[in-house]
């Protein structure tokens, strides 16, 4: 069993991510992280 305190912390983490993910555009994807570092930082549209 996971320790209770850490289960709660992890659930809270997932809640934060779920809430903020609602604001992501449809075109957002993980590879845009590399693009951000490489300076190819255009905001993705909703196409």
């Amino acid at each position: 069993m996971q320790p209770k305190e850490q289960q709660v912390a992890q659930a809270s983490m997932a809640d934060v991510i779920e809430r903020l993910a609602g604001e992501l555009t449809l075109a957002e994807e993980p590879s845009r992280f590399i693009a951000a570092l490489e300076g190819e930082e255009a905001e993705p549209g909703n196409e």
Partner: protein, 467 residues
């Protein structure tokens, strides 16, 4: 002799003031005298080092120089695979990371003339912020016996501070280069994600792992980065950007460099002595020509959550086999962390990766429009006594360790270059340090800032009182 820094050792060897064999023997004498207490090594390779040194000495006598690190003794975190030596990754399994491909970054250092003294202690599977290891012994802090050396690259930080080698390779998934550097009073650089190949190094989290140098000075770290950085066909995440000479601009000064000191998150709840040390360093940097201002950052707690969730999910996936087949081999706190990751859904993991991209884009655009460098503490509390850590339950220990890396982990998520620089000592005699964070691929500015500060402040000239 110049001094025992990496740059000084390399210069002495090149000028034939000392030989590679003498450099290795000097290190071995210190290791034999002090590593019983420090426990920086998992596997010391004295014979291999002496054999390499003799070969390099013969080359030097014949006027053949292999590279800028010719004859310089180095140490490698025991998650870097090197031919002829097993790779335990801090586990009780001697060759946990068996395979044939060598660690690209380590190989590049050796091809540049570096000499491997062996494989260095680390927390099990690179999980842990303090440097404790039930299998190989807890790494001790060279500055104050019985205190944490920081982790997970604990042997790398403590070994440099103890003078066992001139430089070391560490890995950093949530702070594991910068924490031991901060705890042990040496320089530790986590470069931009993609700047240094991770091929041949154990994966903890492929999205968050970085390799980097630990050394006495920023110049030493720059010399190592020159060799370690660059694209690698064996690691598709490496950047194809050209590698600059990181030593070229070190003496250029920092006049006009805009330094931001965060007014949110990074000083919240931080020990007063540590916070005062960083703010003092900020004033000193201002005195050296930098423009220092407060800055409000996009909430780092979000990136902290995103980074932690991604790391746990990936770590549990990569190390599923040992967790499933031999859980009794793992320390309780490592087992707990791996178990936590198995409960993360694919949905949450992928949303976290998408959020990471958005948060990074926004952070780079907003923050670096205002400043060139961020300045923060490295650790939020003084290096704890090892006895305190050992008496905690696994749950309490993990919670405390999570807090200990809360100032470094956000920059793994953001992928930004970050350097830990010594900036004094506590009243108890433990090192203080600051963290400087820059734009993507702007390691040159961080190294220049660190070098300028070190030359003025001179903390690197003080050595631990082992002798």
């Amino acid at each position: 002799m110049s001094d025992e820094s990496l740059a000084g050792t390399a210069a002495d060897i090149r000028a034939r003031r000392i030989s590679p064999v003498e450099a290795v023997e000097r290190c071995l004498a210190r290791i034999h005298k002090w590593d019983g207490r420090i426990r920086a090594f998992i596997r010391l390779d004295a014979e291999g080092a002496l054999e390499a040194a003799r070969s390099l000495e013969a080359d030097a006598s014949a006027g053949r120089w292999r590279g800028p690190l010719h004859g310089v003794p180095l140490g490698f975190k025991d998650l870097c695979r090197l031919r002829g030596l097993p790779t335990s990754c801090g586990t009780r399994t001697p060759d946990y990371f068996a395979g044939s491909g060598e660690c690209t970054a380590a190989r590049r250092l050796l091809d540049a003339g570096g000499i491997s003294l062996g494989k260095l202690n680390m927390t099990e599977l690179a999980m842990g912020a303090y440097g404790d290891n039930a299998h190989h012994g807890d790494v001790d802090n060279p500055w104050l016996a019985g205190h944490a050396a920081g982790g997970s690259s604990s042997g790398s930080g403590a070994g440099v501070a103890a003078g066992f080698f001139a430089g070391a390779v560490g890995s950093d998934t949530g702070g594991s280069i910068r924490l031991p550097a901060g705890c042990c009073g040496v320089v530790g650089l986590k470069p931009t994600y993609g700047r240094i190949s991770r091929a041949g190094a154990m994966v903890l989290s492929w999205s968050m792992d970085h390799l980097g140098p630990l050394a006495w000075t920023a110049r030493d770290a720059a010399l190592m980065l020159n060799v370690m950085a660059g694209s690698d066909p064996a690691d598709a995440t490496t950047s194809r950007r050209a590698v600059p000479d990181y030593t070229a601009g070190l003496d250029g000064g920092i006049k006009g460099v805009r330094i931001g000191v965060p007014e949110n998150y990074f000083f919240d709840g931080v020990d007063e002595e540590i916070a005062a040390g960083v703010r003092r360093a900020a004033r000193e940097l201002e005195g050296l020509g930098a423009r220092v201002a407060q800055i409000r950052l996009p909430d780092p707690t979000v990136m902290m959550d995103v980074s932690m969730l991604i790391t746990r999910a990936e770590a549990s996936t990569v190390h599923a086999r040992v967790f499933r087949e031999r859980p009794q081999d793992l320390q309780p706190m490592v087992r707990i962390r791996l178990q936590m990751g198995t409960g993360i859904s694919a949905y949450d993991y992928l949303q976290a990766l998408r959020l990471r991209a958005k948060l990074t884009r926004a952070f780079v655009r907003e923050v670096f429009a205002e400043v060139d460098v961020l300045l923060t503490p490295v650790i939020p509390e003084p290096q704890p006594a090892l006895s305190d850590l050992k008496s905690a339950t696994a749950e309490v220990f993990n919670t405390r360790a999570g807090r200990f890396s809360r100032l470094t982990r956000p920059f793994n998520g953001l992928g930004l270059p970050a350097i830990s620089v010594p900036c004094g000592f506590t009243a108890a005699g433990l090192p203080l340090g600051f963290q400087a964070v820059g734009r993507p691929f702007d390691e040159s500015l961080l190294l220049k800032l660190a070098h300028t500060y070190q030359e003025a402040a001179g903390w690197h000239r003080r050595r631990s009182s082992l002798d």
